[in-house]
């Protein structure tokens, strides 16, 4: 029973991924793509969690946490890049 539920959930997530990837490719503006990427990251979290259940293992819990962190950092970095066109600012001249 659980397996069927998981598969349905994975199928829905996959559809969401396809839609998100479509958005990444299509754009039209850069923020659209970045938000799509961020959503892909969160989708990945869900997918990995479901796969872990299906594989009956808890070896992938760290990856779930990591994706959460990376998606955040990546989105922030992109956002900063779009706003200031630079990732790491130089130290201010004294």
């Amino acid at each position: 029973m659980l397996d069927i539920v998981i598969r349905i959930a994975l199928f829905c997530l996959a559809l969401a991924m396809v839609a998100l990837i479509y958005r990444v490719i299509k754009g039209p503006s850069m923020p659209d793509r970045i938000i799509a990427l961020d959503a892909i990251g969160i989708n990945l979290v869900a997918i990995i969690a479901l796969i872990s259940i299906e594989l009956r293992t808890n070896a992938f819990l760290e990856i779930i946490l990591l994706i959460g962190i990376l998606a955040f950092i990546g989105t922030v970095a992109f956002a900063k890049y779009l706003e200031k066109e630079v990732l790491f600012e130089r130290e201010r001249d004294h």
């Binding site: 793509r33 796969i51 293992t57 992938f60 990591l66 990376l70």
Partner: protein
């Protein structure tokens, strides 16, 4: 090491000391320190005559590389001794001459005598080595030291040109000879000449025999300036005159003659050898004497004359080699040709050496060697004139000089060709005496020009830089000795040469003809009676005088051979063409663009892999090991494919970077699916970092010419990339279908906890079972980070300095 070995390498050792003498004793001419060595060596080698007279051979072996059969085996027999005496004897005279010829203040004497001694030692090594590899080593040393000596005045362009030309041609031949030596070794299993000669009857039918013969002859012909390789010799006349006298008349150019004579017992079993040696010799004889007539420079005349005389000796050796096909020594018609060759070899060394020295004296005392500017020097330099008369008349083949004797014997040898019924050359045999006779007429003409245009006629002081006067006495000693030898040999050829030197030399050239107890009886008679040879000589003199007197009238004949068709043009053309051709070839594919190099690399990758798949019939598709495909894998693969394809076709770079990131994340999903949590973790982090790095790079693209266009489509690129993809896929499929043995992973599964005290197998392998890989991957990361840091820092400091 025996005394003989020491004698051979003594000049090389002495050469080390020469710069010391030069630096320590500047007041004394360095040549005086060099002079004793060849004299001592001459006396030492002279003492061997009593040994070789009785057909005894002195062999001394010094192990060098015994495991490969390469040993410094010195062998003194008649032929080697003859050359050793020539080298040391004329070497001593040339050094004496050079002491007066080269100024001790203006010239760098240390380099001159070092090179000359190097050459002398190399030459002794060539003629006294029994081991072919050792001989080859010395052979190349002669080419090398000759190169240095020709380019002695290296500030002149023509010297450098001549040195380079002689180097290219002689080393080309030397390498061919090395090939011949290796082939001989393949056939006989030995590098020893004595051993190879003893097997000559067995190897004649070997398939490598003809290639070996041709290779060895190529070496001999290039060294001895045979047609068409003679072109380096006239250009080598840019060397100082003592060098020309020593190397380019008496010794080095005879190394090829030596080689032919030495290997005659090996190769003359085959008719091709006789044919080629005699044929090339006679052509060289004619062409050299014909070309010498039109020269206007004294040394050029002598150079072409040397070419022609070398051709004469070579043709005699060729004809003489036919003697091996007739048994016995008595009534063997062709031995006389070889006798003539050896005899003329000695004669040529004497008169040509003296003539070069005469040319040097004329140059030294008048400032020019151009016979159009010279004339009437007879009254200014009577002694030089006398020596020149003796040398040229001997060269022309007139009595009472030694050239007469060898020329008579030369005609005898050439007439014997008519009776040669071997190797199917009867149809062309008549050409040999005719060409020989015509060439002798030309020899007569240029000999007369050499002496009479220089020393008689009208004196033209306005064309000369200096007021001519007789040379210093020291300069005249060497040519006087040689000129006296010219006359002495004429009167006492038998007691002086034939028994002591020529017969042992013949015994070395024809070892198989000698039975025990017999020896070559070579009688050189001055008067044969009214033979055809005598009338030929008379004809040469008559026609020669006639043509000499009418030379301005028939000079036009040389216009028939325009410079365009000259062999020098051919040589220059070959050098130029090969330079420009290789330049064009290199620039055609070395475009400097990484894109084209990648095209080559991937094209060859495809071709080589496809060929080996087809040739080895390696492609195999086996579905035994294939596991079933699940829906997740299919979906993920779809994502990866979509991501990868849209990366290629993305309109902007930023989109490409993002899509690449998407592909990377999907790959990490694959890791999850295939149960590799560590890989998935690392992949996620690394993918994020590298996407960030890509963005940094993207940001730093220059403003100018920034094109946000999509990738341009090129058919070749598309074909190659599809080809590479297909090839890798095919290889992967074949590799997966060809599993020959089980994986070793079972060991790790069983021992991870018991042996290494860990439950994470990937980590245990990384740090425990195979920790070395990890260590150096850490190193790689350290190097990469240090490199990046260095690149950034160094650029910043430079910018600060500006």
């Amino acid at each position: 090491m025996s005394l003989l070995h020491l004698a051979i390498i003594a000049p090389l050792l002495w050469a080390i000391l020469v710069p010391l003498f030069y630096k320590s004793f500047r007041q004394i001419h360095t040549g005086w320190f060099v002079l004793p060595l060849p004299i001592i060596l001459f006396i030492y080698f002279f003492s061997f005559i009593s040994t070789t007279r009785h057909q005894a051979i002195v062999m001394e072996t010094l192990n060098w590389i015994p495991s490969m059969g390469i040993n410094f085996t010195a062998k003194v027999d008649g032929l080697g001794l003859l050359f050793a005496l020539l080298i040391t004897g004329i070497g001593a005279l040339v050094i004496l001459y050079s002491i007066y010829y080269l100024s001790k203040t203006k010239e760098k004497l240390n380099t001159f005598y070092t090179y000359l001694l190097l050459f002398m030692g190399a030459m002794l090594g060539v003629v006294l080595s029994d081991n072919l590899i050792v001989m080859y080593a010395f052979w190349e040393l002669t080419s090398f030291s000759s190169f240095l000596l020709i380019g002695y005045w290296y500030h002149r362009e023509k010297s450098r040109y001549g040195a380079q030309k002689s180097m290219i041609i002689t080393v080309f031949g030397g390498l061919a000879m090395l090939g011949g030596i290796v082939l001989l070794h393949l056939m006989t299993g030995s590098f020893s000449i004595t051993e190879i000669i003893s097997q000559s009857q067995d190897i004649v039918s070997h398939s490598l025999f003809i290639p070996a013969l041709l290779c060895v002859l190529l070496g001999a012909f290039t060294k001895s300036a045979q047609f068409p390789f003679h072109i380096w010799l006239p250009d080598a006349m840019e060397a100082p005159t003592p060098v020309s006298a020593y190397l380019h008349s008496a010794t080095m150019v005879k190394a090829g003659i030596y080689l032919v004579a030495r290997l005659t017992p090996v190769f003359a079993v085959d008719g091709l050898w006789v044919w080629l040696v005699a044929g090339f010799g006679i052509v060289t004889l004619f062409w050299g004497s014909f070309s010498a007539v039109k020269q206007t420079d004294l040394k050029s005349i002598l150079a072409f004359s040397t070419v022609s005389q070398l051709g004469l000796i070579m043709s005699l050796l060729g004809v003489g080699a036919a003697a091996l096909h007739f048994p016995g020594v008595k009534d063997n018609l062709y031995i006389v040709a070889t006798t003539a060759a050896v005899f003329h070899l000695i004669n040529h060394a004497t008169f040509k050496g003296s003539l070069f020295m005469v040319a040097g004296i004329v140059d030294h005392e008048t400032g020019t060697r151009d016979i159009r500017k010279l004339g009437g020097l007879m009254h200014f330099m009577p002694i030089t004139f006398t020596i020149a008369i003796i040398g040229t008349f001997s060269m022309a083949g007139l009595p009472p000089f030694n050239g007469f004797l060898s020329k008579e014997m030369f005609f005898t040898g050439m007439l014997h060709v008519l009776e040669l019924d071997l190797f199917n050359i009867q149809s062309v045999a008549i050409l040999f005496p005719i060409i020989a006779w015509i060439a002798s007429v030309f020899t007569f003409i240029y000999s007369m020009m050499l002496v009479f245009k220089t020393f008689t006629g009208k004196h033209q002081p306005e064309k000369l830089d200096k007021k001519p006067h007789e040379a210093p006495i020291g300069m005249l000693i060497s040519p006087t000795i040689l000129a006296s030898l010219v006359i002495i040999i004429f009167f006492f050829p038998n007691s002086l040469l034939s028994e002591n030197i020529i017969s042992p030399a013949l015994a070395a050239i024809f070892p198989s003809l000698l039975n025990t107890g017999t020896e070559f009886v070579t009688h050189i008679g001055i008067w044969h009676g009214p033979t055809p040879e005598l009338f030929m000589t008379l004809g040469v003199i008559a026609l020669g005088i006639l043509l000499y007197l009418t030379f301005p009238k028939w000079r036009k004949v040389y216009k028939l051979f325009p410079d365009k068709l000259a062999l020098n043009r051919l040589y220059d053309g070959i050098i130029d063409r090969s330079q420009s051709g290789s330049y064009r070839l290199t620039t055609s594919y070395m475009t400097g663009s990484i894109r084209s190099y990648l095209v080559y690399i991937f094209t060859f990758f495809i071709i080589i892999l496809a060929t080996s798949l087809v040739v080895k019939d390696a492609f195999k598709l086996d579905t035994v090991h294939v596991s079933s495909i699940g829906i997740y894998e299919l979906l993920l693969a779809l994502f990866v494919v979509i991501g990868a394809i849209s990366t290629v076709f993305a309109k902007t770079r930023l989109a490409s970077i993002l899509l690449l990131g998407a592909v990377g994340y999907t790959v990490s999903l694959f890791y999850v699916l295939f149960r590799a949590p560590d890989l998935a973790l690392t992949q996620l982090v690394i993918e994020t970092v590298s996407v960030a790095l890509f963005l940094v790079c993207f940001y730093h693209l220059p403003k100018l010419r920034k094109e946000d266009s999509r990738v341009r489509f090129k058919l070749t690129n598309a074909l190659i990339s599809v080809g590479v993809g297909v090839m890798v896929t095919l290889i992967a499929l074949s590799a997966h279908s060809n599993k020959f043995f089980k994986s070793i992973s079972q060991y790790y599964i069983e021992n991870t906890y018991t042996e290494a005290a860990g439950k994470n197998m990937v980590n245990v392998i990384l740090v425990d079972f195979r920790g070395f890989d990890t260590l150096f991957e850490i190193t790689v990361l350290a190097i990469a980070s240090l490199g990046i840091y260095g690149m950034i820092r160094l650029r910043l400091t430079r910018r600060d300095e500006e």
